[in-house]
């Protein structure tokens, strides 16, 4: 019986060894790590890609924009994904990275329905997030204390929001939540709360989407930058990508992903954008 036991153990170890080395030797593997918004997109695109390229092996992981950028800089993965420009991240040498913008995601402020507010000016929004306005009646709503729920520090959504709504000023210290889903749930159930989430998550009757200066968060307003709260979904490679990686990136920027998959998920195709934004938030019209 003992003999059998040891034999089994040896066989298992041996198989594990083969399995592990098998992974290591597989040069066709493309690992994509980083922003959770990109994870969703890359996973589905990777699955479709496998149908036409059976020999490909695409592994997609989350971990956050910071992880994506530092992993790709270290050369640990082929593609690092990020919601923020590599230039804005300290500790990242953006010159060594190649930037591929794959999609655009809108961000929209949301409030609990009890507040009775549907529109804010950009200044009011800034004053709420810096703690200068503390009651909803100051902006035409009910007499109710404002509870700000921010997003996790350093997350892509927060960086984009702060760079556009709060340039140069600091938000008040407040609750922070990680994921779009949790934020939505909290805003839905807690009176007086305000937060912001990715546009695809905001299609929910239980929460109130805000318009800013009477502009609504719609796809067409984003493409012209009339609605300024949006961010790119970046894919970064370290220097020139290898052949297989380049082929996959080409597929991501190609017709199938850009015209079918991206709108299906609720993001905007990069091709639709009529403006270009750089890492300093300068917006230029395409073609100028």
């Amino acid at each position: 019986m003992h003999k059998h036991f040891w034999q089994k153990i040896t066989i298992i170890l041996f198989l594990a060894l083969i399995f592990l080395t098998g992974c290591k030797n597989n040069s066709s593997k493309i690992t994509i790590v980083g922003s959770s918004a990109m994870q969703l997109l890359a996973e589905q695109a990777g699955n479709d890609y496998r149908l036409t390229h059976p020999s490909s092996n695409i592994v997609v992981q989350g971990g956050g924009s910071g992880t994506g950028l530092s992993q790709v800089q270290a050369g640990a993965v082929e593609i690092g994904t990020s919601d923020v420009f590599a230039e804005t991240q300290p500790g990242i040498n953006a010159q060594k990275l190649r930037d591929y913008r794959v999609a655009v995601v809108g961000i929209v402020p949301i409030v609990n329905k009890s507040t009775g507010v549907k529109n804010l000016s950009m200044t009011q929004l800034r004053q709420i997030f810096t703690g200068k306005i503390t009651n909803w009646k100051q902006v035409g709503g009910k007499n109710e204390t404002i509870t700000v729920i921010n997003r996790s520090k350093g997350s892509g959504t927060r960086s984009s929001f702060e760079s556009i709504v709060l340039p140069g000023v600091k938000p008040i210290r407040s609750q922070e939540q990680d994921s779009n889903g949790t934020v939505k749930k909290i805003v839905n159930t807690t009176p007086g709360t305000i937060s912001y989430i990715s546009l695809p998550y905001a299609h929910d009757k239980n929460i109130q989407k805000l318009s800013i200066d009477h502009v609504k968060a719609t796809n067409s307003n984003i493409t012209t930058n009339k609605w300024p709260l949006w961010c790119y979904e970046h894919m970064y490679t370290k220097g020139k990508p290898n052949k297989r990686t380049a082929a996959f990136i080409k597929y991501m920027l190609g017709k199938k992903v850009q015209e079918d998959l991206i709108p299906k998920i609720g993001y905007l195709s990069i091709k639709e954008m009529k403006v270009v934004r750089d890492s300093q938030n300068k917006v230029v019209k395409v073609g100028n």
Partner: protein, 332 residues
């Protein structure tokens, strides 16, 4: 080798010559039929011994390497905040200004340290009376069957993943706390209530062991003196079991201190010194889980998180040390 064989044969011959009562078996075999090789080489059992020993040593060495490298890695990165980025250790422990992205003067973990400790202590404080009561019921009052049933209930509570507790807390406890005590419902109180359920089985099952370890003759002696059941429990059983019950509580606290996910979902994650039990705040672990994906390896914000991890590691060691200390006291 040949010489050895000769020697051995000589010894055997000598032994046969010297024996006074002829040994039946040895005689029958004769000196030439003795398999010298088999006797001088390690037997199958000896080889098994070597193998077994080797395997356990290998496993132990692997584990030691693992532990040392974990401590080393967390230590190197955690200390980089102080030696690489020149953050003042005293400032780190006492300041409440947590904004590592803004430079070395904004790395203060006091708010998180205070929150972590208050959540842990409160959870242990609430859970202990319940745990002792349940354990007493299981060991003193109910039948074997009932005890077994309760045991499996406790094991079920241990087996529920922490994210489920967090989700339940977010859906049930937070709104109830908001209705009863105001605020947003996120805060130390909600975290305490979630952790209460999570540490209860840990403390209970260890307390049951503690009560079971009280020798039967203590109870019998107490009964013989005319004490009632409750008097026996109160004056004898609990007194004798105290050190082990304390150990149980410390284990529970260690679990509460290290719990991240469930706490993160209900505490609000605002790095603020808690003003009261319903104001949102953040623990060391909740800050770690919510921030680690958003920092770049090697930068100050990342190193500051490693420092929090180092603090947690040190606290785990302290809890371990406390358990040993209490255990030693109990032996006296």
């Amino acid at each position: 080798m040949a010489k050895n064989t000769e020697d051995l044969k000589q010894v055997v011959d000598q032994a046969i010559a010297q024996q006074e009562v002829p040994h039946v078996k040895l005689n029958k075999m004769g000196p030439n039929s003795v398999d010298i090789n088999r006797l001088t080489k390690p037997s199958k059992e000896t080889r098994q011994e070597y193998w077994g020993k080797g395997l356990t040593y290998f496993a132990i060495i692997l584990i030691i390497i693992l532990v040392v490298s974990i401590i080393g890695f967390v230590g190197v990165h955690g200390l980089a905040t102080f030696f690489g980025n020149h953050v003042n250790v005293f400032h780190f422990l006492t300041s409440t200004d947590w904004d590592p992205g803004d430079g070395k003067n904004h790395v203060g973990a006091a708010a998180m340290i205070v929150t972590s400790f208050s959540v842990t202590l409160l959870a242990a404080l609430v859970a202990t009376p319940f745990a002792i009561a349940v354990a007493l019921f299981m060991t003193e009052y109910t039948s074997q069957k009932g005890a077994k049933f309760l045991q499996s209930v406790m094991e079920l509570l241990v087996g529920i993943p922490s994210v489920v507790y967090g989700f339940l807390g977010l859906t049930i406890i937070v709104p109830v706390v908001r209705k009863l005590f105001g605020g947003t419902g996120f805060g130390i109180l909600s975290a305490t209530l979630v952790l209460f359920v999570m540490v209860l089985p840990t403390i209970t099952s260890l307390t049951v062991d503690a009560l079971k370890a009280v020798p039967k003759h203590f109870r019998q002696a107490s009964a013989a003196l005319g004490a009632t059941h409750w008097q026996t429990i109160h004056k004898v059983v609990l007194r004798v079991a105290t050190p082990r019950i304390l150990t149980a509580i410390i284990f529970g606290m260690a679990r509460a201190f290290g719990e991240a996910l469930a706490v993160q979902m209900v505490i609000g994650n605002a790095v603020l010194m808690p003003a009261n039990l319903v104001s949102p705040s953040a623990t060391l672990t909740s800050q770690l889980t919510s921030q680690m994906g958003n920092t770049v390896m090697g930068t100050l914000p990342n190193n500051a998180l490693w420092s929090l991890a180092l603090l947690l590691l040190i606290m785990a060691l302290v809890f371990n040390f406390l358990v040993r200390l209490v255990g030693k006291k109990g032996q006296k």
